[in-house]
């Protein structure tokens, strides 16, 4: 319990740091809106269901990488030393994860709202649609967040985050595209629940793996 409370406190601290410097968040927002709008202009707004599912996830993939990829890169050496001395590594990681998941979730829900307004897709099942978005957001945030920690210790540049995370994100990506596609064409609750279950387990697995492995990255 103490562990969770400390992590929550730390993520609130990250939130206040983010709010102190709003430029970064608004930069992300403008990036997200303009990529969606460019896609809308280039497709004229007419896309079939499976293209819509693919398009929205490609957009969300890039937006999440931009949002979550910076989560560890921003910390400079002095601040890092401060955290190192104040909290155990798992608390720090979970705090970062919670903060990044919240940030990515807000962005993903906002972007999908914009996409729904612009492309007006016909959604058959809201369970599958929002299940894919929410679990996808947390999965993306955990994976990219952890790999940005790897990239930060390795090279400290942003290119490394995308190189490391693209192949690893694909299990999430394909399951989400499939689930969203399903929710656009039919109301097959059982199949949707199966995919939601797969996504949930993937989330748990990434969370567990990153908590186990993070202490080894933390040392320097």
């Amino acid at each position: 319990m103490k562990f969770l409370r400390q992590s929550l406190g730390l993520s609130a601290h990250f939130l206040s740091l983010e709010l102190r410097n709003k430029n970064a968040f608004f930069g992300l927002l403008i990036y997200a809106v303009s990529t969606v709008f460019v896609t809308y202009l280039s497709t004229q707004g007419f896309v079939s269901e499976n293209i819509y599912a693919a398009l929205i996830w490609i957009l969300l993939l890039f937006i999440s990488i931009n949002a979550a990829g910076k989560s560890f890169l921003q910390t400079n050496d002095g601040l890092h030393l401060f955290y190192f001395q104040s909290v155990p590594p798992n608390v720090y990681l979970l705090g970062k994860h919670l903060f990044t998941a919240g940030l990515v979730l807000i962005l993903i829900l906002g972007v999908s709202g914009l996409c729904m307004a612009l492309f007006s897709p016909h959604i058959e099942s809201y369970l599958g649609y929002f299940g894919a978005l929410i679990l996808g957001a947390t999965g993306f945030a955990f994976t990219i967040g952890f790999l940005s920690a790897v990239a930060q210790t390795a090279a400290g540049n942003f290119t490394m985050v995308s190189i490391l995370s693209f192949p690893v994100l694909l299990p999430f990506f394909l399951t989400q595209v499939k689930l969203m596609n399903l929710s656009l064409v039919s109301q097959n609750i059982n199949l949707e629940l199966k995919y939601i279950g797969i996504l949930f387990l993937l989330n748990l697995l990434v969370l567990g793996l990153s908590l186990v492995l993070f202490p080894y990255l933390w040392r320097d």
């Binding site: 790897v150 210790t153 390795a154 299990p171 990255l217």
Partner: protein, 225 residues
């Protein structure tokens, strides 16, 4: 004579088994199946290379875990070189698979679960090599690349497990196609197939052994300079 006496038994076994799989693979009778016909002989090369690759990658992950618990440069070297040789086998497996696909599916690359899985596997391990290349300090390199190796291998296994459930496949053994494994492979095929897996695996380990020796020689030369 000294050269022959010092060569280990498993290296000789590797040569014998690989030669056996090539000669036996091309000459021994195979069952006549629709669509596949003589291309079924690719089982002896493509499938065995992939088996050997997956085993090498698993060894690489085990040695990454060892590196984390006990940071010796030996553990890290084994992890890195098994991944290297596994990648090499993966590329060979991909090429043999593509040639096979051209003659049975009619194209070198089709949008299929198995081909995509291959591409992802190769991408993950190329990313691993890029990560290794970007770090100068050898202790740090060992630790960080071990973390990525473990994370990526688990995700890869999951990916290969999930993918067939999300999409259907043209590959033999999936979606009602004649399979190489299970019931379609008769006993004469097994007699070549299993020794062939062991042969390619031993060959891979031999290559790993040589690469590690090469590293040691290079380190020594650098130290002397």
């Amino acid at each position: 004579m000294i050269g022959i006496r010092t060569i280990s038994w498993w290296k000789i076994l590797a040569i014998v088994l690989v030669l056996y799989s090539i000669i036996g693979g091309f000459l021994i009778d195979v069952p006549k199946l629709p669509i596949l016909h003589e291309t079924i002989r690719n089982t002896y090369f493509h499938v065995t290379l992939w088996f050997a690759m997956m085993i090498l990658m698993a060894i690489s992950m085990v040695y990454s875990i060892k590196t984390l618990s006990n940071p010796l440069s030996k553990n890290d070297e084994i992890a890195a070189e098994t991944a290297n040789i596994g990648l090499f086998f993966g590329i060979l497996g991909l090429v043999t698979g593509m040639i096979w696909a051209q003659f049975t599916w009619g194209a070198f690359w089709v949008n299929d679960v198995k081909t995509n899985g291959t591409a992802i596997t190769l991408l993950i391990y190329f990313a691993y090599l890029v990560l290794r290349g970007s770090i100068e300090d050898s202790e740090k390199k060992a630790r960080i690349s071990a973390v990525y190796n473990i994370f990526a291998f688990v995700m890869l296994i999951l990916f290969l497990g999930i993918l067939p459930r999300v999409n259907d496949s043209l590959h033999p053994g999936n979606g009602g196609n004649p399979a190489f494994g299970n019931y379609d492979m008769d006993n004469t095929m097994r007699m070549v197939f299993y020794p062939s897996i062991i042969g390619y695996l031993l060959l891979g380990l031999w290559l790993v052994d040589n690469r590690i020796r090469l590293r040691k020689i290079n380190e020594q030369l650098e130290a002397e300079e």
